[in-house]
């Protein structure tokens, strides 16, 4: 599952073990400081079951957990499955749970982990495929249910105009790399398995990105209330804590959306105001 991202400066005939192919590897001509060996417990298995297996890896300064996993792949477990691609925290592929915390393996430096055995597990909120690889396709099905961007009619000269200060709010949400760590740590999915009635923080961020766009015309509040199940969120901010892009998921996406849903469904004064003066703002309820 590894993408071919070989550096172009490498001689064609030189073969290097995969664990040195990293942005944090020592520069040419330097020797990385050896930090000793570390023990790992890596979950091996599939949807039917599995267990932990013990490995060791030689750690040098600057190594990240993904480097160690690749070293284990290269030296001890050639069949260890792990999804990865960019090694730069931008593709969102190498999500896993490191010492119980949902994190990107490529952005977790070994020297930041406490002494002792490092435990690596696949994401709990999704069905395992093999070892550290999980089936995240459910997320793509959820995304299809969210109405796409639909801009208002262009201006007389055939173009759209919007102010930078207005789109800055939604630009934060566009940083999302779809690593699904927020989905994994959300207890509504992780512990209560409400995948059928709850879209999860990733898709509230996506909905907020569309909903708050100054040119968008679609009202997604019915989706958020019903299919999206935003009421299940009890705003415990775990999604914000694990986001590798530091998106303020709860404060800037979920809570503003909960407030919009409250406007429409729970606030009698707003409902009265809209009924009296702004009938066009009432959302269209989904068909039963």
């Amino acid at each position: 599952m590894a993408a071919d991202n070989e550096p172009t400066s490498r001689p064609n005939n030189e073969v290097q073990p995969p664990f040195v192919h990293t942005a944090s590897a020592p520069k040419p001509g330097t020797v990385a400081e050896a930090l000793g060996r570390r023990d790992f417990k890596v979950w091996r298995g599939n949807a039917l079951g599995g267990g932990y297996k013990d490995y060791t890896a030689e750690i040098s300064a600057g190594m990240v957990v993904l480097d160690a996993v690749h070293q284990i792949q290269a030296t001890q477990a050639g069949d260890l499955a792990c999804r990865w691609n960019c090694k730069a925290g931008k593709c969102g592929s190498c999500s896993a749970e490191i010492n119980g915390k949902p994190r990107l393996m490529c952005m977790t430096r070994m020297e930041t982990l406490p002494e002792g055995t490092v435990t690596i597990q696949p994401m709990k909120a999704f069905k395992p495929i093999k070892d550290l690889v999980t089936d995240v396709s459910w997320n793509y099905e959820v995304k299809k249910k969210i109405a796409p961007f639909k801009p208002k009619a262009p201006e007389a000269d055939g173009t759209w105009r919007m102010q930078q200060f207005e789109v800055e709010r939604v630009q934060e949400f566009r940083k999302c790399i779809e690593c699904f760590l927020c989905q994994d740590t959300c207890h509504v999915l992780r512990d209560h398995g409400k995948h059928e009635v709850f879209a999860g923080p990733r898709f509230f961020v996506h909905a907020a990105q569309l909903e708050m766009h100054p040119l968008d015309t679609v009202n997604r509040e019915p989706f958020l209330k019903h299919d999206g199940g935003i009421g299940f969120c009890n705003i415990t901010k775990c999604c914000t804590e694990v986001c590798p892009e530091h998106i303020k998921i709860t404060d800037n996406a979920i809570i503003p959306l909960k407030e919009r849903v409250a406007d429409t469904y729970y606030d009698p004064l707003v409902r009265l105001w809209r009924w009296a003066f702004k009938k066009g703002e009432q959302p269209v309820e989904p068909k039963a």
Binding site: P128, V142, E166, H195, G231, C238, V242, I255, P256, D267
Partner: protein, 271 residues
Amino acid sequence: MPDMTTQAVAHQHGFGATARRDLWWLGPLATSIGLLSFVVYSTWAAFQGAYYEAGPYLSPFYSPLIFGTSEHAWIHGTPGWWPTWLPFSAALLVLWAPGGFRLTCYYYRKAYYRSIWMDPVACAVGEPRKSYWGENTLPLILMNAHRYFAYLAVIFIGVLTYDAIKSYLFTGADGAKHFGMGVGSIVLTLNPLFLGLYTFGCHSLRHLVGGKKDCFSCSSFGEARFKMWSAVSVLNRNHQLWAWVSLFGVGFSDIYVRMVAMGHWHDVRFF
């Protein structure tokens, strides 16, 4: 939603189960101690019905003093409709509003859902219960009333600011009011300041003043609303900090006034 059966074969199960190796329990423990301490003290203080004023100082737990016998009271005396089985305390008439504001506050919800209700106690840590309804049904669906408590909280900021101003007006030997300043004046001035920094960073106010708008430049008073939304957003970034600072501030204000009123502490007058 598409069907998804989670096979959590790789993970620990049960309350508190986790592979986390950090001190994940420390935050919820400290939060629960802080919250429960305040709830116990404020409940005790609210039922005392005494020692809530000392000269120009009025405890914020009893403000506005709707019924009372002192210069702070809006109406002198006690309400005739007050049930005889319940000792009268003016705090019980007002504390429900700021209490409701904090109870439904988005930050405090996070705090007590985690530390008291343990749903979850910490991120990626097993929960004590399997059932879960979120804020979809009664009683938690009532959290959507937070905006109404926010409106009341803004009024309370005005009332407590008035109390702060009055705390600089001491009654002299001639019976007239004189400008002065004591430690209590500073305490009662900092209290509405901290409460303001907390209240004006409220998520519901942020929504009300402009957050609900997608296009400020297309809206009436769009520029003003964007500025208000930006200002509330600045305070909102530290909502948790101000929630705790103001909680401590309002609790300490009551303790200070109570201690001075009981004669345990001497209020130092600067002039």
